[in-house]
C-alpha cells in the first residue's frame, strides 16, 4: 500500500469540501473495499477522509410511507431493522446473503453501492483492464471469465456487478440521495449504475467528492411479499453466480403486481423489465414464468466459460417466481 494521509471529519459539509478540493483523496467508511483495493495498488489515493463519524447511520421513516437508509448504516444493522424486515424482506435477505458477519458489521449500505467489481483482471495491476486503466483492453473477454456477466456487457468490459442488496434496491425503484460540491441530488437507482459501454471506468454519475448520504425505499405494499434467491458455488460467504429479487402479488390466479431484478449475471444490478412485461397480468404458472425468463435472457451474450449462466439465470428466475407464487397461493 502506498503511504496515505488521514483525516477524520465530523460533519457532511467538511467531508465533501475536503474530498472535492483534493482530486487525490477518497472517502473512507467501512473500508472493506477501499483498504482492500489500496493494498493491491488498484486504488492509490494520497489522502483518506474518514466519514465514519458522520450522522448518517440511521434508518428513518419518510413522510408518505417510505424508509430512508442512512448511507453509513451498516449492512448488519439494516438487515435486522424491523421495518426493513417487515416491509422490504428482500432487502434484508439480500443483505444477509452477502459477505460474512464480520464484513457486514463493517460495510455500509452506501459503500455497498460504491463497491468495485471482483473481476480478477481488474484486481491485477499487471493485467489489461479498461475499467482500471482505460485503453489497456479487457483481459476477461477471452480469459478466465466464468464469473463474468452475460447481460449489459460491451466489448470493453464484461465484469459482473457484485452487490446483492443493490439488486433488491433496483427492483424497488429506490432513490439514491447524494450531496456534493454542487449540492444535493436524488438519483433513481437504475440511473445510479451505468452500463460499461465504451467508458467502463465510469460506474456512477457522481462527481469527485459527491457523497451518498442515503437510500430511499419508496412506499410499496407489494414489497412486503418479496424475497431474494441467490445461487453460488458455496452456500455462504460467496458472490452470486445468479440471483433474483422478486416482489409479487397474485389475485385470482393472475399476477397483479411484479417487480423483478437479477444479480450475478449483469454488469449492473439488472432490472428485468422484459420479464416484468410478460408477467404483468399473466397467469401465475410455470409456463408464464419460463416465458418471462426467456424474454429477459434473449439478449444475453455468453463469453466462453460463463455460458452456463444463461441457463442458470433462467432456472433461478423460474424457481424464485414459483416459490413466490406458492407462498402467495397459501397465504
Amino acid at each position: 500500500m502506498r503511504p496515505v494521509s488521514y483525516s477524520r471529519v465530523a460533519d457532511v459539509g467538511t467531508a465533501i469540501g475536503t474530498v472535492s478540493a483534493d482530486p487525490e483523496s477518497a472517502f473512507l467508511a467501512g473500508g472493506t473495499t477501499q483498504v482492500d483495493l489500496m493494498r493491491i495498488y488498484v486504488e492509490q489515493p494520497h489522502r483518506l477522509v474518514d466519514i465514519s463519524d458522520l450522522p448518517l447511520n440511521q434508518v428513518e421513516e419518510l413522510p408518505g410511507g417510505g424508509l430512508r437508509l442512512g448511507g453509513l448504516a451498516r449492512m448488519s444493522d439494516v438487515a435486522q431493522e424491523p421495518a426493513v424486515v417487515r416491509r422490504y424482506p428482500m432487502v434484508a435477505e439480500a443483505l444477509l446473503l452477502g459477505a460474512s458477519p464480520q464484513l457486514r458489521n463493517m460495510a455500509t449500505v452506501a459503500g455497498n453501492l460504491m463497491q468495485r467489481v471482483r473481476c480478477s483482471y481488474f484486481r491485477d495491476v499487471a493485467a489489461g483492464c479498461n475499467k482500471r486503466t482505460p485503453g489497456t483492453g479487457c483481459s476477461a473477454l477471452d480469459g478466465v471469465n466464468r464469473g463474468h456477466a452475460v447481460l449489459g456487457t460491451s466489448d470493453c468490459c464484461i465484469a459482473t456487478h457484485p452487490s446483492d442488496v443493490a439488486v433488491a434496491l433496483v427492483a424497488l425503484d429506490a432513490v439514491v440521495q447524494t450531496e456534493g460540491p454542487a449540492g444535493r441530488r436524488s438519483i433513481p437507482i437504475d440511473d445510479f449504475f451505468l452500463l460499461p459501454g465504451q467508458t467502463p471506468e465510469q460506474e456512477h454519475p457522481l462527481t469527485h467528492g459527491e457523497l451518498v448520504t442515503g437510500i430511499d425505499l419508496p412506499p410499496l405494499p407489494v414489497a412486503a411479499t418479496s424475497r431474494y434467491v441467490k445461487i453460488r458455488d458455496r452456500e455462504s460467504y460467496e458472490f452470486a453466480l445468479a440471483s433474483v429479487a422478486v416482489a409479487m402479488s397474485v389475485a385470482g390466479g393472475r399476477i397483479a403486481e411484479i417487480r423483478l431484478a437479477l444479480g450475478g449475471v449483469a454488469t449492473k444490478p439488472w432490472r428485468a423489465r422484459a420479464a416484468e412485461r410478460v408477467l404483468d397480468g399473466a397467469p401465475a404458472t410455470i409456463e408464464a414464468f419460463t416465458r418471462a425468463a426467456e424474454a429477459e435472457l434473449a439478449p444475453a451474450v455468453p463469453h466462453g466459460m460463463n455460458a452456463f449462466k444463461i441457463e442458470l439465470a433462467r432456472r433461478t428466475m423460474v424457481r424464485a417466481l414459483e416459490e413466490m407464487a406458492q407462498r402467495e397461493g397459501t397465504a
Binding site: R2, R8, D11, L28, P101, Q102, P205, S236
Partner: protein, 182 residues
Amino acid sequence: MKSYQAIRTTPAPDSAVVRGPGEVEVRLRVNGATRTMSVEPRVSLLDALRDRLELTGTKKGCNQGACGACTVWVDRRRVLACLTLAISCENREVATIEGLADGDTLHPMQQAFLDADALQCGYCTPGQIMSAVALLAEGHAGDDIEIREWMSGNVCRCAAYPHIRAAIRRVRDEKGSGDAAR
C-alpha cells in the same frame, strides 16, 4: 447520462486536520488498556496489533478479507482487522483474543475449544473463538444450520468445523447466549 437537478448547498472549506502520511502518534484502547504507538495511517489494525503491540494472537491469513483469521471486536462488534486501519480505531474499544481469559481462567469458549478438540493446526482458532463468542452474544447459535451460516466468515483449512460447532453448542447450552460476550 441524465443529469438531475442539484439543490445548491455550500460545502465547508477543507478544514479537516491532516495526519500522515508519515508516522503519527496513534492512541488505541486495546483489551481495556490505553496503548500509544507511532504508525503510518496506512498501517492496518492487524499489523499494529501484531507488530507494534506484540499481540500476535490475532492471525494474518489472507490479508484481504477472505478468511476471518484476523477477527477482533471493535466497539463489541466482530470485524476484520486486516481491512481496518489502526488509526481509524481511535476512540473505539478494540478487543482481541488476548483479552478474553480472566487471568488464568480461560473464557468458556476457549475451554470448550480445548475440550471439544475444535482445532488441528490452530491457525484459524483465535479468529474462530472471537467470532464464536460474538455469535452467542448476537443470538445466532439457535441450531447447527444457523451456527454454520453465522460462522461462515471464519474459514478453517483443517476443516475442524464439526468440532467447532460442538464447542459452540456446549457454551450455548451451558450458559445461554445472554452474557457470553464480555
